[in-house]
């Protein structure tokens, strides 16, 4: 009897301990929000929120200083769009190849190889951009600056490619075979089956993978810091130097900025914008997947 109740208590304690561990993830989210919020609020005591959201100059160290976030957002979106133009089509078509064309053996080799691209540290992509991609671009387009958005777009595109191809492939493969066979029976070619039957059925998963990949590109830090430069700039010219939100945060923390200064506080405000953008996109991606997923019997 004593042994029994001892065991019961032990079981209870273990369950409690495991529950606390599971709660830690909630605490992490809450502390991210609190940490960002507290310094952001104090940042907005010095800088008006209107100037921050609508200003077109970001010059935190100049006198008078300017804190318009639009140039940084422009830089971030330029990289996100540029890398998507590369990664989304290539990723989706290679997902189609792996799921619809490749045999099991080819797929077993090719898929891990492409996923290796995701395992390479981002600072390595940064070096690749600086040492390899930028010199080539400068040879093709001589007026390109040393630091330029094009080179960053290309390497970030390579970086998010495996995410698109891997997640899209999962979505495409989960479309049941009966659907394909039905279309083949009607005399459709493989192209027609894929584009008119398989892809529409897998659309929610594919869209979700696109959004996740774009969100990854928005948060990408080292490659854009190394390749795209540190010039906050409102431009659509990918051969110019720009600065993204993430690169600005790194730039400030590389210098010895004293805590409490306005430049120090500004990284929390930028961090907040970054966090809201990526967290929001991740939520949307999950919502699309759960809301529009087609359920098959």
């Amino acid at each position: 009897m004593a042994v029994h109740s001892y065991n019961n208590i032990k079981e209870k304690i273990i369950e409690r301990y495991l529950f606390v561990c599971a709660l830690i993830s909630i605490f992490v989210t809450i502390s991210i929000v609190l940490v960002l919020l507290s310094e952001t609020v104090s940042f907005f005591r010095d800088v008006s929120i209107i100037e921050f959201l609508t200003g077109t100059r970001w010059a935190p160290t100049y006198t008078p200083s300017h804190f318009g976030v639009l140039p940084l957002i422009n830089g971030t979106l330029l990289i996100a769009i540029g890398s998507s133009i590369i990664a989304l089509p290539v990723g989706l078509t290679s997902a189609i190849y792996l799921s619809e064309y490749a045999n099991e053996q080819t797929r077993g080799i090719v898929k891990p190889v492409i996923e290796m691209l995701a395992g390479i540290p981002t600072v390595v992509y940064g070096c690749f951009a600086v040492l390899f991609v930028t010199p080539i671009i400068r040879k093709l387009v001589p007026e390109t600056e040393i630091f330029n958005a094009a080179s960053a777009c290309i390497v970030v595109g390579i970086m998010i490619l495996p995410m698109v191809s891997s997640l899209s492939e999962d979505a495409i493969r989960s479309v049941p075979h009966t659907l394909r066979e039905g279309a083949y029976a009607l005399g459709a070619t493989k192209y027609e089956v894929t584009t008119r039957v398989v892809l529409p059925s897998a659309l929610s998963g594919i869209l979700a993978s696109f959004i996740l990949a774009i969100s990854r590109a928005i948060g990408e830090t080292m490659a854009v810091t190394l390749a795209a430069g540190a010039t906050p700039n409102i431009t659509l010219n990918i051969f110019e130097s720009i600065q993204t939100m993430t690169a600005y945060i790194v730039q400030v923390s590389l210098g010895d900025t004293p805590a409490g200064s306005i430049a120090y506080k500004s990284i929390f405000a930028i961090g907040m914008v970054l966090f809201l953008m990526t967290f929001g996109m991740n939520l949307i991606s999950q919502w699309i997947r759960s809301r529009y997923q087609e359920v098959y019997e």
Partner: protein
């Protein structure tokens, strides 16, 4: 050209495009590795691994960065693995189908997508300044632990959910309690996959740069850390520092350091595969 012919052409063209995209991905990987290898290989030597960084490229090495990274990864593993695996056990084996469980699960997926630089800001405010740990190894390891925690939880959960229910029922049928079932049946049979997932998560941590820059890891460290409270540098930071310098020799040194970093990553992945094989054999032998 009749309609039939047109459809056939389109079909073939599409197959070629899909194949070409896939090959593009593989070629890019090969190109990246070749470029790094060509630039860095001649700088790679035993001296390079055993020397401290220097202003002179021919004398620079990655001793402090290498040991910094090893310290960092061991500390991160010691902090993040017990927490992550425990959280996953709760969510997979205990959690009721409640609203709170659902929120926790969605939250974990979202945390996995938060940019690493944001974790760096969190680490800076929470550990470096909040707990006054300074720019120490332990502050870096705690920051990286928060970063890899969601990845460990997700992969462990998948490993646990792959364990067949019959195993649980048989264990309960013999009168085992919930914890006994988990401890003696479920964890051992899920262990190969838990290990693989954890090592992959840790290999993500070893390549992270931005969060360590945020917490102020030093780039010029001419000593190896002795305690978790020592300041440190790590391989990715050293690579970042070298590649940012104007002298072209440092670009080659950075490539050499990348080769070392990639070799460490490769070793970790190989270890994951070997461990998994070993455990699987043991299980089958039982």
């Amino acid at each position: 050209m009749n309609l039939q012919e047109k459809r056939r052409r389109k079909d073939q063209l599409f197959a070629v495009i899909c194949l070409a995209s896939t090959i593009t991905g593989i070629l890019l990987l090969a190109l990246l590795l070749c470029d790094i290898f060509v630039k860095g290989f001649s700088w790679l030597s035993w001296d390079f691994i055993c020397s401290y960084p220097s202003r002179f490229p021919e004398r620079a090495g990655i001793k402090s960065a290498f040991w910094g990274s090893i310290w960092l990864i061991l500390l991160t593993a010691a902090i993040a693995l017990p927490m992550g695996v425990s959280a996953a056990i709760y969510l997979e084996e205990y959690a009721p189908r409640s609203r709170l469980t659902k929120i926790i699960e969605i939250n974990i997926f979202n945390l996995a997508g938060v940019p690493s630089v944001v974790y760096g800001i969190l680490g800076l405010a929470l550990f470096v300044r909040g707990l006054s740990l300074g720019k120490s190894l332990i502050a870096g390891a705690l920051t990286l632990s928060l970063l890899v925690l969601p990845i460990i939880i997700i992969s462990t959960k998948e490993a646990l959910s792959a364990v067949p229910n019959s195993l649980r029922e048989a264990s309960y049928g013999l009168g085992a309690s919930r914890w006994q079932t988990i401890r003696y049946q479920i964890l051992p049979s899920a262990m190969p996959w838990i290990l693989t997932g954890s090592i992959l998560a840790l290999s993500r941590a070893i390549g992270e740069t931005a969060p360590l820059i945020m917490i102020g890891a030093l780039t010029f460290v001419a000593f190896t850390p002795q305690t978790p409270l020592d300041p440190f540098t790590a391989m990715p930071i050293q690579i970042f520092n070298w590649i940012s310098r104007p002298q072209p020799e440092f670009a080659n040194i950075a490539s050499a350091a990348i080769i070392v970093l990639l070799l460490v990553l490769l070793t970790m992945n190989a270890a994951a595969i070997i461990l998994r094989r070993k455990y699987q054999k043991k299980l089958q032998g039982q």
